[in-house]
């Protein structure tokens, strides 16, 4: 049985300006011990997806449909109390900005202890020992002293480590990291990515890492899901996405990034236009106004939403171009430019 399975998850928010379709029919599977990278630009729906899995949109104005199966339990239809009992224990989250995710009035230790004692019937003393253990495991020096520090006394990197210790304190089976290193400096980011890789091996959790940085997903992910306008537009094994990408948007992302491992190119190959507003998603293929290859499929993209279809061995693409056309464009027009 698949450990985590999303089936056609939709999260829509009614607003005064119209219905915001943040997540619009998302499906994927994830096994224990595997890492899924979700990539997308701002407003692509990647963070809403993660909060949706954790059930953090329940009780709000969000309209949620579809199914989220976690270890044999369906969460969308489950009661908020039940989902709450799973949160922190069975699934937990690492947030982007640890300074705003932690409470400034309580010590780091108290915050770990609180979560641990909610899910485990232990004394404060035992819980504190556990908190010290966890802080030590994520590489915080002198954890027995630092456990009594307040979040502001930690540096950015240490705070993110403490955040990771907090989310791992109850041994979760599903860990969602939402832009875990975006707020950090590059040398500290490297430390945190190493740490997450090691911890995942130890804990054998399923990890979802959400980011806009293709470099970060390449470091950690087994599978990659590219989101655009609330939908998955490409999904596949990390090697497939980086070596044989088939969606024009993925090509655009790869062409937009200057890279240290390649010769300096004369010009970057950006995607024209701007990411769509989710209130007013373009008709048909959401990417068609920015797509350089849109004229080649006879204007179908303007009216028809392409289906997410498998091109080969678990590699899914949502595009009107035929498989042969896509492969031809990648091999003759895109790849040579990226590697020149």
């Amino acid at each position: 049985m698949t450990f985590l399975q999303l089936k056609d998850l939709k999260i829509h928010f009614p607003t005064d300006d119209g219905l915001v379709k943040s997540v619009d029919g998302l499906s994927f599977d994830l096994e224990r011990g595997k890492t899924l990278g979700i990539v997308g630009e701002s407003g692509s729906g990647k963070s809403v997806t993660s909060l949706g899995i954790l059930g953090l949109h329940k009780g709000g104005r969000a309209k949620i449909s579809g199914e989220v199966w976690l270890d044999g339990e369906e969460l969308v239809s489950a009661s908020p109390e039940h989902v709450r009992s799973l949160r922190g224990k069975k699934m937990s989250m690492i947030f982007q900005d640890p300074l705003s995710a932690m409470h400034p009035y309580y010590t780091v230790g108290d915050q770990i202890i609180e979560a641990y004692r909610i899910h485990n019937k232990v004394s404060k003393k035992v819980a504190k020992k556990h908190a010290i253990d966890m802080l030590g495991r994520v590489g915080i020096p002198q954890p027995d002293r630092r456990v009594d520090s307040y979040p502001h006394e930690f540096s950015g990197g240490m705070r993110q480590r403490a955040m990771i210790a907090m989310s791992l304190s109850c041994d979760p089976e599903l860990l969602i990291a939402d832009e875990p290193t975006t707020a950090l400096d590059v040398t500290v980011q490297a430390q945190i990515l190493d740490l997450m890789r090691d911890l995942q091996r130890d804990f054998n959790a399923a990890l979802i890492i959400i980011t806009h940085d293709l470099g970060v997903v390449a470091e950690l992910s087994d599978d990659i899901l590219v989101m655009y306008g609330g939908k998955c537009i490409e999904y596949g094994a990390a090697d497939d996405i980086f070596e044989r990408p088939e969606h024009p948007y993925t090509w655009g992302l790869l062409g937009s990034m200057p890279r240290l491992d390649r010769e300096v190119t004369e010009r970057l190959l950006p995607i024209k236009g701007t990411p769509p507003s989710l209130i007013n998603v373009p008709s048909g293929c959401a990417f068609h106004p920015r797509c350089a290859f849109e004229p080649r499929n006879g204007g179908k993209g303007r009216t028809l939403v392409p289906d997410l279809v498998e091109t080969e061995g678990g590699h899914l693409v949502r595009c009107h171009l035929s498989r042969e056309e896509r492969r031809d464009i990648w091999a003759t027009e895109i790849k040579p430019k990226l590697e020149s």
Partner: protein
């Protein structure tokens, strides 16, 4: 030898730390602590470093948005270090700044026309066909619709706002532009658009850039020369090619190896240098070589003597007692591409 447009010698900025009712000074944050570099006409100098290394302060000192504590700044032959605002104003025409955050650097109550036209008003410049015409030409130059003259910043996306900021910078046809993290607040696909725009404008208008950024790949793409800063000091400065192909300072090496590469094939087998700990506080920086607390090559001498920024190969200067990739004294300098 190309002309030097900007020259910085021993520049310092110490922010006082005060305590108590009478604000007695108890210390100083040495944000920039004695840095020297030249910027040649028509080139792009990249200034990289982690947060707190003083790169933004350097940018603000050069543009005289803050007052330097010590050192000297020479711009186009004028010593502007402590120049009075009135005398500085005519020079400001030639030296402009692009800010990081396109949301907070544009006045929400002003129209695009007023924002981009402000430099003309402040400098009292009359253009041939009026300011409106001049502004519309600049809007077109940076890829915005000139008809959006009367719109407000909130009607634009992040990338378009950054273009408005760039248009304002270009209004008076400056010679030197200081760009402080010009693309870091933008989405990946928009970053590339703005980077390309900056390069096109440089070719078209013969601009000189100082680009301040933390993203080593963006800096590599855009710069001709790169200076690496650590805790208020320049630790290495070199031609782009030399710095990325054969970095000499251990810190530069560590920075480069920490950048994640978007290629799964390189996940294994890439040489990694992992620094431990964070950047120390600039309030109380380590003595002598400031990097010695995190450096794996550090020895006794690093804790007692500060290494000078010395040119070990033509155009490649480094401040380290034990530089890597350094050419032997008799050998020709290494130029591995």
């Amino acid at each position: 030898m190309t002309e030097t447009i900007l020259s910085v010698q021993g520049l310092e900025k110490h922010f006082p730390v005060t305590k108590g009712l009478f604000k007695t000074q108890v210390g100083a944050v040495k944000a920039v602590d004695g840095i020297s570099f030249d910027v040649r006409k028509g080139e792009t100098l990249g200034l990289v470093g982690e947060s707190g290394c003083g790169k933004t302060t350097t940018g603000r000192l050069i543009t005289r948005l803050i007052e330097p504590t010590g050192g000297q700044i020479t711009f186009q032959g004028h010593d502007i270090t402590h120049m009075k605002q009135g005398k500085l104003r005519p020079l400001r025409r030639d030296m402009q700044m692009i800010f990081q955050d396109p949301y907070s650097s544009l006045n929400p109550r002003h129209t695009v026309g007023a924002i981009v036209g402000a430099p003309f008003r402040i400098q009292g410049i009359e253009t041939e066909h009026g300011t409106k015409k001049a502004v519309q030409e600049i809007l077109e130059l940076v890829g915005l619709n000139p008809e959006h003259y009367n719109r407000y910043p909130h009607e634009f996306s992040g990338g378009q706002r950054q273009r408005i900021g760039i248009a304002r910078t270009l209004a008076l046809k400056p010679k030197l532009i200081i760009a402080d993290e010009p693309v870091s607040a933008l989405d990946v696909s928009i970053q590339a658009q703005v980077v390309n725009l900056l390069e096109d404008l440089q070719n078209e208008l013969d601009l000189t850039y100082v680009v301040i950024a933390h993203d080593l790949s963006v800096v590599r793409h855009i710069s001709d020369r790169v200076a690496v800063m650590y805790l208020g000091k320049i630790v290495e400065v070199a031609e782009r090619k030399d710095l990325y192909a054969s970095p000499m300072h251990p810190y530069t090496n560590a920075l480069l190896s920490a950048v994640p590469i978007p290629d799964t094939r390189q996940r294994e087998g890439r040489e990694r240098i992992r620094l431990t700990g964070d950047v120390p506080s600039p309030l109380n920086p380590p003595p002598a070589c400031r990097f010695h607390t995190r450096c794996w090559k550090a020895q006794e001498v690093c804790k007692t003597t500060e290494p000078p920024l010395a040119e070990l190969a033509p155009g490649h200067a480094v401040a380290c007692h034990f530089p890597e990739n350094a050419p032997a004294k008799t050998e020709a300098p290494a130029t591995v591409a």
